[in-house]
Amino acid sequence: MAKGKVLIIDDDPDFVEVVRTALETDDFQVFSAADGSQGLALMRREKPDLVFLDVMMAHPTEGVDVSEAMREDPALRDIRVVMITAITDTQYVGDFPTDRYLHVDQFLTKPVPLAELLELTNRLLKK
C-alpha cells in the first residue's frame, strides 16, 4: 500500500524522472504531466494528495495559472501544492504575481535537494 499519490507537473523529463525515482523508492505512487492542462486532467482523474508544480513551463507563469485553477475547483482545492521554481535571476520577476493569493503550501528551488523533497512530502502527507 503506497503512502500517497503524488503528481509531478513539469516539462523537464529529467526532473520528472529523478523525482519519480526518489518518491517511488520511498513508496509513493507517482504520476506525471508535462504541461498544465494535462496536469489538471490527471488531478481530476487520479485525485492525488500532493502536486509538485513547476512555475515556468510553456510560458513563465503557467504553474501559477494551474494553482489558480485548482483554487477555483472545489474538487481540487484540498490538494497540497509544492511549487518548484528555477527563478534565480530577475528577468521574470515582473511576470510573477505578488498580489494574488496562491494556493501553495511550499516553494522549492531547483535543483531541489532530494532529502528535503522527501522530508517535505512525508510531512505534508502525514497530516
Binding site: D14, V18, T21, A22, P111, L114
Partner: protein, 461 residues
C-alpha cells in the same frame, strides 16, 4: 559679403539701433539749436535748421515703419537683402542731412564737422569694408563739395558771427587742408573700424563653426553610445540564455548524483540514473564545445581581415570524407558535385570546415534513412555558391525566419533529436557573414530543405 546667419540677424537688429540713434540725433540737434539761440541770439538760421531736423525726424518715422514691416517679413534671404539696401539708404540720407545742417551753420567753420566720424563707424559696423569705403568716399565728397562750393561762392555761406573767424571759409589753404584732413580721418576711421569688426566677425564665425563641429561630434558619440548599449544588451541577453542552457543539464546531473549518493534510488535503478547523468554530461560537453565555436564565430569578423584565399572545394572534400561514414550508417545517399575551376574565397579554413560540417551533419541528422543529401559547389560572376539539399523532414514555415538564431530549435527537430544545442546554424550564419557572405534557407515541411550560402570571390576584395 559672406556672413553667417547669426550675423545677418545682427544686421537686421542693428537697423533698429540705427533708428533709435537717429531719434537721439534729432533731439540733440534741436537742443543744440535752442542752446545756441539762447547763448548767441541771431547766430543761426533757425528756420532752415529746424526744417532740416524735422525732415530727419520725418524720414526716421518712415524708416521706423519700414523696419517694422521688414521684421514681419517671412523670407530671411529677402529680409537680408532689403536690410542691406535699407542700411545704405539710411546712411546716405544721414550724410546728406548732416552736410545740409553744416552748410546752414557755417560750413567748414562748424566744429560739428567731426560728426562725420560717427557715420563712418556706423557704416563700418553695419556694412562690408568695400561698402564702408564707398560711404567714406561719399562723405568726403559731400564735405569737399560743400567747402568748395562755398569757397567759390556758388552757394551762399552762412557765417557763425562771433563764434569762429567768419572769413575762414574763403581761406583756400584752410579749406583744402580741412578737406584733406577730413577725408583722411574718415577713411582711416573706416579702415580701423572695418578691420576690427571684420576680425570680430571672423572670430564669431570660427566660434560658430567650432560649436557646430562639436555638435556634430557629440551627435556621433551619442549614436556610437546607442550602438554600444544595444550590443551590450544583446550580449547580456546572450549570457542569460547561455546560463539557462548550461543550468538545465547541470541541475539534472546534480539531481541524479543526489539520488544515488543519498540512497534515494533502489540499487537496480542506480545504473539507469547514472547513465542518465552521463548522457547529460555528454550533452553539456557538446554545448560547451558549441559555445566555444560560437565565440570563435563571434570573433571571426575580427579575423576576417587577415584571412588567406582558400579553395572551398578542398575543405568540402575533407568534410565529405568524414560525413560519408555517417550518411552510409544511416543508409543515406550523399552526392557531392563540385564545379571545375572554382575561384578562391578569402576565409579561414577551420571556419569553412565548421560551415560545411554543420550544414552536412544537419542534413544527415534530419533526413530519414533512404533519403538523399545533395551538396553542390559552383560560382557566379561575383560569388562562390554552396548548396546543401536534403529530402528530410523540412522546416515549418513559421520557423524559417528563426532557425539561424542562437539556441533556437524547431519543435520537430527537438522531437527527432532532443539533445541538439540549437547553436550550429547560428555559428554557420555568423561565419559566412563575417567573410562578407550570405546564407538563406528554403524548405518545405516533409519534403526537404535547401541551404544556400554565397561567399565573395577572393579577387573581388
Amino acid at each position: 559679403m559672406e556672413e553667417q546667419f547669426p550675423l545677418q540677424a545682427e544686421l537686421i537688429e542693428r537697423i533698429d539701433w540705427l533708428i533709435s540713434l537717429r531719434w537721439l540725433a534729432v533731439v540733440g540737434t534741436l537742443l543744440t539749436i535752442v542752446g545756441v539761440h539762447v547763448c548767441f541770439p541771431g547766430l543761426l538760421l533757425q528756420g532752415p535748421l529746424v526744417a532740416v531736423t524735422t525732415a530727419i525726424a520725418f524720414y526716421n518715422l518712415l524708416f521706423y515703419f519700414y523696419a517694422r514691416r521688414l521684421h514681419a517679413s517671412r523670407s530671411t534671404v529677402l529680409k537680408l537683402r532689403q536690410s542691406t539696401v535699407f542700411a545704405y539708404v539710411q546712411i546716405a540720407l544721414d550724410l546728406i542731412a548732416l552736410t545740409t545742417l553744416l552748410h546752414l551753420a557755417g560750413g567748414v567753420e562748424n566744429p560739428f564737422v567731426l560728426f562725420f566720424v560717427f557715420h563712418m563707424i556706423i557704416a563700418s559696423i553695419l556694412l562690408s569694408p568695400t561698402a564702408s569705403f564707398l560711404v567714406a568716399l561719399l562723405a568726403s565728397s559731400l564735405f569737399a563739395a560743400m567747402a568748395l562750393l562755398e569757397y567759390k561762392g556758388l552757394v551762399p555761406h552762412h557765417n557763425l558771427v562771433g563764434l569762429v573767424n567768419p572769413e575762414l571759409y574763403r581761406h583756400g589753404t584752410y579749406v583744402l587742408a580741412s578737406i584733406l584732413v577730413m577725408s583722411t580721418t574718415l577713411f582711416l576711421v573706416v579702415y580701423m573700424t572695418s578691420s576690427i569688426s571684420a576680425r570680430l566677425r571672423a572670430r564669431t564665425n570660427q566660434l560658430l563653426e567650432v560649436s557646430r563641429s562639436h555638435e556634430a561630434k557629440s551627435r556621433e558619440l551619442e549614436e556610437l553610445n546607442t550602438k554600444l548599449q544595444k550590443l551590450d544588451a544583446a550580449r547580456t541577453k546572450f549570457m542569460v540564455t547561455v546560463t539557462h542552457e548550461l543550468r538545465a543539464p547541470v541541475a539534472t546531473i546534480y539531481s541524479c548524483l543526489d539520488l544515488v549518493l543519498g540512497g534515494f534510488a533502489s540499487p537496480e535503478k542506480e545504473r539507469q540514473i547514472l547513465e542518465r547523468a552521463q548522457q547529460r554530461t555528454t550533452e553539456l560537453l557538446d554545448l560547451v564545445k558549441d559555445l566555444l565555436e560560437l565565440t570563435g564565430a563571434r570573433q571571426a569578423e575580427v579575423q576576417a581581415e587577415e584571412a588567406e584565399p582558400i579553395q572551398l572545394a578542398d575543405v568540402l572534400r575533407n568534410v565529405e570524407e568524414l560525413m560519408r561514414v555517417e550518411a552510409e550508417n544511416k543508409d543515406l545517399f550523399l552526392s557531392v558535385d563540385i564545379a571545375p575551376n572554382l575561384p578562391l574565397v578569402r576565409a579561414k579554413p577551420e571556419h569553412m570546415k565548421t560551415v560545411w560540417t554543420n550544414l552536412l551533419s544537419n542534413a544527415i541528422k534530419y533526413t530519414e534513412p533512404g533519403g538523399i543529401v545533395v551538396v553542390s559547389l559552383s560560382h557566379n560572376p561575383e560569388y562562390v555558391v554552396g548548396v546543401v539539399r536534403d529530402t528530410g523532414m523540412g522546416i515549418p514555415a513559421e520557423d524559417l525566419s528563426r532557425i539561424f538564431e542562437e539556441f533556437y530549435r524547431t519543435a520537430n527537430a527537438r522531437a527527432i533529436c532532443p539533445q541538439g544545442t540549437g547553436v550550429g546554424l547560428a555559428i554557420v550564419k555568423r561565419m559566412v557573414e563575417s567573410y562578407g557572405g550570405k546564407i538563406w534557407v528554403e524548405s518545405e515541411l516533409g519534403r526537404g530543405s535547401k541551404f544556400t550560402f554565397m561567399l565573395p570571390k577572393a579577387c573581388n576584395r
